[in-house]
């Protein structure tokens, strides 16, 4: 086992990785940008090193600098988290060249899987169904015509190096195809430095179901069951659950076997996730891609299996063998995760920045919070707007959804807009509760992206606002006394009953 590991990330995942490292007796070292000097991921580590600058390119994406910091502090390994450099083969190579263990797959696997066309070929050769697609092509190529002839419209133009919906276009008509290919190619070139595109058959309203895989360096690969990730906004998952309400035991077995086959074909080592599109009606599924890293939504798998995936990542990277066998993997109960974003669900998911003035996450039986923020913190424009993840587990699906619904209703966040009301509306939606949903859920249910407050609550809100506005001039300013001024700790108590401080109230 390592003695010291550099965590090359920020936010909730850096906190979460550090927590497991400390529990394993490994000293985590944080890196942080100037915008993150007081952030929780710094407090979660034992040592912390500044990466000068604020922009991601200067800091969390700065391979040379991060490798140097790891060497300087005496770390033996680097955990990349997700996002940032986690799927960058050049970073894995740089770590290896510097003598640092990279806690993840090899650079070769990563490169092979990062290329959508290579990855699909690999899956096809391994006998796994993939969505019908063309080779890499340009407008006017013969391959374009052949593909259109066979599969028709609508189709997707996709970037070979793509991800996160960038460089992707849905095309409904032949006359839009060339333009879409040009556009997607330019977008991909700008985003990934690789403008190659290909065509893919469009599967309407699929479910997005993924299978977690764990593989050690001795050829032992198992799968850890599936996660249903169909609730998405802008191709970004926001709610995930396991088990998937759409899977039969037989389908689960098939998808698990397919995931293992893909991982083996890629020579995959460490934790990874194989993503599939599932036709909810026919039960047919298609390989989509394999994510060569820990996923945001890994906690729901941990919740039902009673495992710590980061622990296994670290053990495998340190050369231990995977002592779990497939028969050990027995899910218990049901888990759901909601991603809490600083964004306004009622204004087209516009990101929201500012200071988190109130932050009171719920806690209690079956709840887990992985958080990257604390009250008083500035939510900046520099990085991903995900603040935290709330995970609810219960013996059954109905209870875990209700636990989540109650917890979301009790989650206090003020200062920046969050998607909490949207999450609550989805989790409480009858269709969602029946498990009848796919990736089009938000489009079909525009009501969940509009405020749905009862008149009674709105009237009460107005009354409370009028009351609270009255508090600002008098009683609430005394709240500072408990924060700082010595000797007058009791002064704030007059605020407890508003009518006790009526004399002091004065409205503008």
């Amino acid at each position: 086992m390592f003695a010291k590991v550099l965590v090359a990330n920020r936010g909730e995942i850096a906190v979460r990785v550090s927590q497991t490292l400390r529990a394993l007796g490994v000293a985590p070292v944080a890196v942080y940008s100037e915008a993150d000097a007081g952030a929780p991921h710094v407090a979660a580590a034992v040592e912390a090193v500044l990466l000068p600058g604020r922009a991601a390119e200067e800091t969390y994406l700065n391979i040379d600098r991060i490798v140097q910091v790891a060497l300087d502090c005496g770390a033996e390994a680097v955990h990349p988290g997700y996002g940032f450099l986690s799927e960058n083969p050049a970073f894995a190579l740089a770590c290896g060249a510097a003598g640092l263990s990279f806690i993840g797959p090899t650079a070769e696997s990563m490169a092979a899987l990062g290329d959508k066309v290579r990855a699909k070929d690999m899956a096809r050769r391994a006998g796994i169904p993939v969505a019908p697609s063309s080779p890499v092509c340009r407008p006017g190529d013969a391959a374009v015509g052949e593909f259109v002839e066979q599969w028709g419209f609508p189709l997707l133009v996709k970037a070979a190096a793509g991800g996160g919906g960038r460089g992707m276009r849905l095309v409904n008509r032949r006359r839009d195809l060339d333009g879409a290919m040009e556009l997607a190619g330019r977008e991909a070139l700008a985003a990934f430095g690789d403008g190659r595109v290909f065509l893919e058959h469009y599967i309407a309203n699929p479910r997005h179901v993924e299978v977690q895989v764990l593989a050690d360096g001795f050829g032992h690969t198992i799968h850890l069951g599936e996660r249903e990730c169909s609730i998405q906004r802008r191709h970004q998952k926001i709610i995930e659950e396991t088990p998937s309400p759409a899977l039969t035991p037989e389908l689960r077995r098939q998808m698990g076997a397919a995931a293992i086959a893909v991982a083996r074909a890629a020579g995959y080592v460490n934790a990874g996730t194989v993503e599939f599109l599932l036709d909810g009606q026919s039960g047919e599924f298609y390989f989509l891609e394999m994510n060569a890293r820990l996923q945001v939504e890994h906690p729901i798998t941990e919740a039902v299996l009673g495992l710590d995936l980061v622990e296994w990542q670290v053990r495998i990277a340190s050369g231990e063998s995977l002592t779990l066998v497939q028969d050990d993997i027995l899910p218990r109960g049901h888990a759901i995760e909601c991603r809490i974003y600083a964004e306004d669900p009622y204004r087209d998911f516009a990101p929201s920045t500012g200071r988190l003035l109130r932050w009171r996450p719920p806690s209690g039986p079956g709840l887990r919070l992985d958080s990257g923020v604390v009250q008083g913190q500035e939510v900046s424009i520099y990085y991903d707007p995900m603040l935290a993840k709330l995970i609810a587990w219960a013996p059954g699906r109905e209870l875990s959804l209700r636990r989540m619904e109650v917890a979301l209703a009790q989650f206090v966040a003020l200062g920046v807009a969050t998607n909490l009301p949207l999450l609550r509306a989805v989790v409480g939606h009858p269709q969602f509760q029946r498990g009848e949903y796919d990736t089009g859920f938000l489009e079909w249910n525009p009501a969940v992206t509009s405020p749905a407050t009862s008149d009674e609550l709105r009237t009460m809100a107005r009354a409370l606002a009028a009351w609270a506005a009255g508090q600002s001039a008098g009683a609430v300013s005394s709240s500072s006394s408990s924060l700082a001024a010595p000797g007058d700790g009791a002064a704030g108590r007059a605020a407890v009953n508003p009518w006790q401080s009526a004399g002091a109230r004065r409205l503008p």
């Binding site: 003035l357 003020l414 009674e456 009460m460 107005r462 409370l464 009028a466």
Partner: protein, 198 residues
């Protein structure tokens, strides 16, 4: 119009609730709590949704608050609701039972329409730092509430900026390509009943 049950120091207020309407309401503090009554019609003539469904009635709340800006209120029927509030600039943000409500002070409103035209509430502000991609309206143009007026790019995403209320574009303060800071004015909007005053 229903009168609140508090006697004595009822007061007239104005506010902009989140959806852009402007209401009058009365507040009073009684023996048993805080009483609030809504004064029926919205001030600027915008349609009052569901006015018949209880918005006009008075409510009485028992409020317990902590100096942390959080509290708990009970209605007359005994239902308990947690709440929290914070000032975000000139906006009062209120969290109530899992929902967020945003209120703006009605500065200058009581002085009458015209003179209060410069109020911040009538402007369209940049919600975060970024670059202006497109301006979709011109000066003098009439815009509807929730109409898209500007498109920005920020955090590598497109932001669609909409008007929080209807009005006439008095001034376009930015142009495409321009970098803007958070809170910077993008458009000045004159309420419709003030159009032509400026």
């Amino acid at each position: 119009m229903t009168q609140g049950q508090g006697q004595g120091h009822g007061e007239m207020r104005e506010t902009y609730p989140s959806a852009g309407e402007v209401y009058r309401y009365r507040t009073a503090e009684g023996e048993s709590g805080f009483t609030f009554s809504l004064d029926g019609a919205p001030l600027d003539g915008a349609p009052l949704e569901s006015a018949a469904a209880g918005l006009e009635s008075a409510i009485t709340l028992d409020i317990e608050s902590r100096e942390t800006g959080e509290g708990l209120c009970r209605t007359a029927s005994g239902r308990a609701y947690a709440f929290a509030w914070a000032w975000v600039g000139a906006e009062l943000h209120l969290w109530l039972d899992g929902d967020l409500f945003v209120f703006q002070r009605a500065e200058g409103r009581r002085r009458g329409g015209a003179a209060g035209g410069e109020s911040a509430a009538a402007d369209v502000l940049a919600p975060m730092p970024g670059a202006v991609l497109e301006v979709l309206v011109a000066e003098g143009e009439r815009v509807e509430r929730n109409q898209t007026v500007v498109i920005m790019e920020s955090m590598k995403m497109e932001l669609v900026i909409t008007a929080a209320r209807g009005g006439i574009v008095r001034r376009v303060a930015v142009q495409p390509g321009q970098q803007v800071e958070r809170g910077m004015r993008l458009l000045e909007l004159a309420p419709e009943n003030e159009s032509g005053n400026d």
